[in-house]
């Protein structure tokens, strides 16, 4: 009997998810023993045409990372959806847009200008890439940018979500074990639409720091302060996204002395990640006077960037007005 087939793809992402998969160390041998790797552009040579030739549902497990930045991303997402039994939205980019999704704060014109006409770019003639160009040999094309970056589940149906930037390797290993056990009939897969490889609570639940329900008169930046290593960072006025962020990372950043930046995405039951953080941050402000509240809030330099660093494309509003106008 032939082995079940495995695919992994990257759309708009950085490649960190692939490294996280390789970081499961010798467990990667279990993956190789249990699966035939049929498509994984970062690790092996395969062509889109090879995937197109497959039967529908022929791939058992597809880990798809990256957001939908251009029409090529969307095309491959649809193709892999058709060919895969289990489609996992893998990593923050696929689940909620992540850092590439921050482009949804700006119009696509500004995004392109930043890439091709800033002081760090040597482009005196202001040349822009053309999506289609006629050569003597024929027409050559490159993918067309979407005006706003979309998440994977805004384009195709997704079976499971695996958050994290990148997902922690021990969580990936656990999920791999679970899928292999399920294929051997020794375990059951979670219901469709579930978040796997993460906790159901918040980072605060795993955080070793002590909360004393303190309120603050000032927000500060962690690099400019001497933060107490044992106390809650938010209660010291340091913007920490723990209260709205899904658990699963063992509160790595707060344990190491840095604030949570929210890479595991919204916790169970949180519809809009930023909205939940607005409530959390507002609750530590020690003032009843509008002017003083405003002064304290001035300490949060970029609130939307703070609250939607990983989550803009997956939020209720999805993109700023500027991005919608194009």
């Amino acid at each position: 009997m032939s082995k079940p087939k495995f695919a992994m793809y990257w759309a708009a992402s950085c490649g960190g998810c692939e490294i996280a998969v390789l970081n499961i160390h010798e467990k990667i041998l279990d993956v190789d023993a249990a699966f035939d790797v049929v498509f994984w552009p970062v690790a092996m040579d395969a062509k889109y045409a090879d995937v197109e030739k497959m039967e529908d549902g022929e791939i058992t497990l597809c880990l798809f990372n990256g957001g939908m930045r251009n029409d090529e991303n969307e095309h491959i997402a649809r193709l892999l959806r058709k060919k895969s039994k289990i489609m996992v939205s893998f990593g923050s980019c696929a689940c909620e847009g992540c850092i590439p999704g921050l482009a949804n704060f700006s119009s696509i014109r500004d995004v392109v200008d930043t890439a091709f006409s800033t002081i760090t770019t040597d482009n005196p003639d202001n040349i822009r890439p053309q999506t289609s160009y006629t050569m003597p040999e024929g027409i050559i094309t490159i993918p067309t940018l979407n005006p706003v970056l979309k998440t994977l589940d805004q384009v195709v149906d997704v079976d499971y979500y695996m958050p994290g930037c990148p997902p922690e390797s021990h969580q990936i290993a656990a999920v791999v074990d679970l899928v292999i056990a399920a294929l051997n009939g020794k375990a059951e897969l979670p219901p469709k639409g579930a978040t796997i490889g993460a906790g159901n609570s918040t980072v605060c639940d795993e955080c070793p720091r002590t909360r004393n329900v303190k309120v603050i008169k000032e927000f500060g930046r962690i690099q400019l302060m001497h933060a107490d290593p044992t106390l809650c960072l938010l209660e010291q006025g340091i913007p920490c996204n723990g209260p709205a962020t899904r658990s699963g990372c063992n509160a790595r950043c707060p344990s190491a002395g840095a604030q949570c930046i929210g890479c595991y995405g919204p916790a169970e039951g949180v519809v809009d990640y930023g909205a939940r953080l607005i409530s959390a941050f507002a609750s530590v402000i020690d003032s009843d006077k509008p002017e003083e509240i405003d002064r304290i809030l001035d300490g949060l330099v970029d609130p939307a960037g703070q609250f939607y660093r990983f989550n803009l494309a997956g939020s209720l509003l999805r993109a700023s007005k500027a991005a919608q106008k194009g």
Binding site: G193, A198, D302, L316, L317, K321
Partner: protein, 159 residues
């Protein structure tokens, strides 16, 4: 953009969140006193302005609202003692985030109204509607409006 022909003035759709104890009763007072005011606000009653989760406001804008009104008891008069202060802190931060998203501060309004202030409530709403009318339709890109995900509880995977 809107279905309205150019001859008709733009009628903004405004979602208003009121508290059970003061501002909703102010609206009631305006009603039973037969005061006339702009019909553009759809009121939603919460037990307290402190119940206002910013998610409600974001959902209203994503769903096509042109503006959102948040209304509660006067500072110091909250039925639950201090929750309207919480609403105020939240509102100030939320307004900053909305501004960064390109939703003008004029599209959100925080209004204090006691149960006896039906006239003030009616006047402020009429004023707000005119202000939003000048800002024009928001036209949040509805095709991009997401479906609220169905929560499926899952067992935590142990390493």
């Amino acid at each position: 953009m809107t279905d309205t022909p150019e001859t008709k003035p733009f009628e903004p759709v405004i979602i208003g969140f009121t508290c059970n104890w003061c501002s909703y009763r102010a609206a009631d007072m305006a009603g039973i006193s037969r005061m006339k005011y702009a019909p553009n606000v759809r009121l939603i009653r919460l037990m307290c302005s402190g119940r206002l989760d910013p998610t409600f406001v974001f959902k209203a804008f994503a769903g096509g609202a042109d503006a959102v009104l948040v209304s509660g008891c006067h500072p110091g008069d909250c039925h639950y003692s201090t929750q309207n202060y919480k609403a105020m802190r939240r509102f100030h931060l939320m307004q900053r985030v909305l501004t960064q998203m390109g939703i003008e501060p004029g599209r959100t309004k925080l209004l204090w109204a006691s149960a006896a202030e039906g006239q003030i409530f009616a006047n402020e709403i009429t004023k707000f509607v005119e202000e939003v009318r000048l800002l024009g339709p928001l036209n949040w890109n509805k095709s991009a409006a997401p479906v609220v995900p169905v929560e499926v509880p899952a067992e935590e995977v142990q390493a």
